[in-house]
């Protein structure tokens, strides 16, 4: 199997916590190296304690083995550190249609959840407020739209 074919194959693996986007679109999948029947895959954790990493690694191994690879090694790569800037525009669009507001600005070191502007993924209004800085997973905060009154998840800049 060729390098690009392997990447396309791995594009089928969803992010376990946000199944509408793939690990490739999220920027979690960094690099693939092929040596005969062996494949080395490099992934980067989104959060230090992302509990999905073990599942992603086993999904990768199972998928590649079912496509003929004799051995697969999944490596965790810490540097460069994952950032929400790596999420593709396609991924952002998919998040929005799934009801999750994508990161509102470029990731930087200063967290500014108080001053940032997040648009409601439901009606597009920018009249939104934070309900809780921590949500259902480490990467999300819980927000509310003051126009359509729907609560929604916000994918924090990181």
């Amino acid at each position: 199997m060729e390098h690009t074919a392997v990447l396309e194959l791995l594009d089928q693996i969803p992010d376990p916590e946000i199944p509408v986007v793939s690990i490739r679109e999220m920027g979690i999948l960094r690099k693939v190296e092929l040596k005969n029947n062996h494949c080395d895959v490099y992934i980067t954790p989104t959060y230090t304690a992302c509990p999905a990493m073990a599942m992603i690694a086993s999904d990768i191994e199972a998928l590649l083995k079912s496509h003929g690879f004799k051995s697969v090694a999944v490596h965790t790569q810490l540097s460069p550190a994952w950032s929400t800037d790596w999420m593709s525009e396609g991924a952002r669009q998919k998040l929005r249609s799934f009801g999750i507001a994508p990161p509102a600005h470029q990731a930087c070191n200063s967290w500014a959840l108080e001053v940032m502007q997040v648009n409601c993924p439901n009606c597009g209004s920018n009249n939104t407020s934070v309900i809780s800085k921590f949500g259902s997973t480490a990467c999300k905060a819980l927000m509310r739209c003051e126009e359509c009154l729907e609560p929604f998840d916000y994918f924090k800049c990181h």
């Binding site: 954790p45 959060y47 230090t48 304690a49 992302c50 509990p51 810490l78 540097s79 460069p80 550190a81 994952w82 990731a107 070191n109 200063s110 967290w111 959840l113 108080e114 309900i131 809780s132 800085k133 921590f134 949500g135 259902s136 480490a138 819980l142 924090k156 990181h158």
Partner: protein, 254 residues
């Protein structure tokens, strides 16, 4: 790298890793007991961030010097004298104000520490810190928000915060001690000057206090000892519970 430097790096990594692990363990005690649902989720998220941090740091510590050890071996098979976390981290959870004050002091320190470590000459540590600093900063902003709500809330919430700040102050100066190992790491550009962090830390805490009407307490007696592995009686009890399973059934897995 000389043996001496490797040993110093390992000790430093254990301090960072142990701080994360012990804080994570204490924070997880709030799971299902926080004053409201959102806060329950927040504190559980904080605990998870800390345990994730501990996993990376202890794993690295276990591979720097001497016999190779996994993060689990280091977490579950050391006794209290082999732990290097700050005394503040191991103090019993106490009430909600106590937890918030503790979080405020520790996350302000971690924010500054990991920011400085982004420039570390140790590339593994700097890569990790780029991620950790964002998380620590988020934790700090959460603690600062609560500090304000409790400080400007009812007379009772205000008084409980004041008590917590005063009780915890005696455990803050220990963060900034410069041991021989800190000096050696500073010379090699691996770790920052703790004295400099102290000045910025006081500014950071002072700014939050100014908005909430609290004042920085007078310096009185300060507890020390964690750099030498000397702890309060509380750590032993905490480890007893945390290590129970691996001590009773070594290498148990599921």
């Amino acid at each position: 790298m000389t043996m001496e430097l490797k040993e110093a790096l390992q000790k430093f990594l254990l301090r960072l890793g142990d701080n994360a692990l012990i804080q994570g363990q204490r924070l997880s005690e709030w799971c299902s007991r926080a004053p409201m649902l959102e806060e329950d989720i927040a504190l559980s998220n904080l605990a998870l961030d800390h345990i994730g941090r501990a996993q990376v740091l202890l794993d690295y510590a276990g591979h720097t010097f001497g016999e190779i050890k996994t993060a689990d071996e280091l977490a579950f098979r050391r006794s209290e004298r082999e732990y290097y976390n700050f005394l503040m981290a191991e103090l019993p959870t106490g009430n909600f104000a106590f937890t918030i004050a503790k979080q405020l002091f520790l996350s302000a320190y971690e924010d500054l520490l990991y920011e400085a470590l982004c420039e570390s000459t140790d590339t593994h540590l700097s890569a990790f810190s780029l991620k950790a600093v964002k998380e620590a900063r988020y934790h700090f902003s959460h603690a600062a928000d609560w500090c304000m709500r409790l400080g400007l809330g009812t007379a009772e919430s205000h008084d409980k915060m004041v008590d917590a700040i005063h009780d915890l102050w005696a455990y803050t100066h220990e963060f900034f001690e410069m041991s021989d190992c800190d000096l050696l790491l500073l010379q090699h550009g691996i770790a920052p000057d703790q004295e400099k962090l102290k000045k910025n830390w006081l500014d950071k805490i002072g700014k939050v206090f100014m908005r909430t009407g609290f004042s920085i307490p007078q310096d009185t007696y300060q507890h020390r000892g964690s750099r030498q592995g000397i702890h309060t009686e509380h750590l032993g009890h905490l480890l007893c519970e945390m290590q129970y399973l691996q001590r009773s059934y070594p290498d148990a897995s599921w």
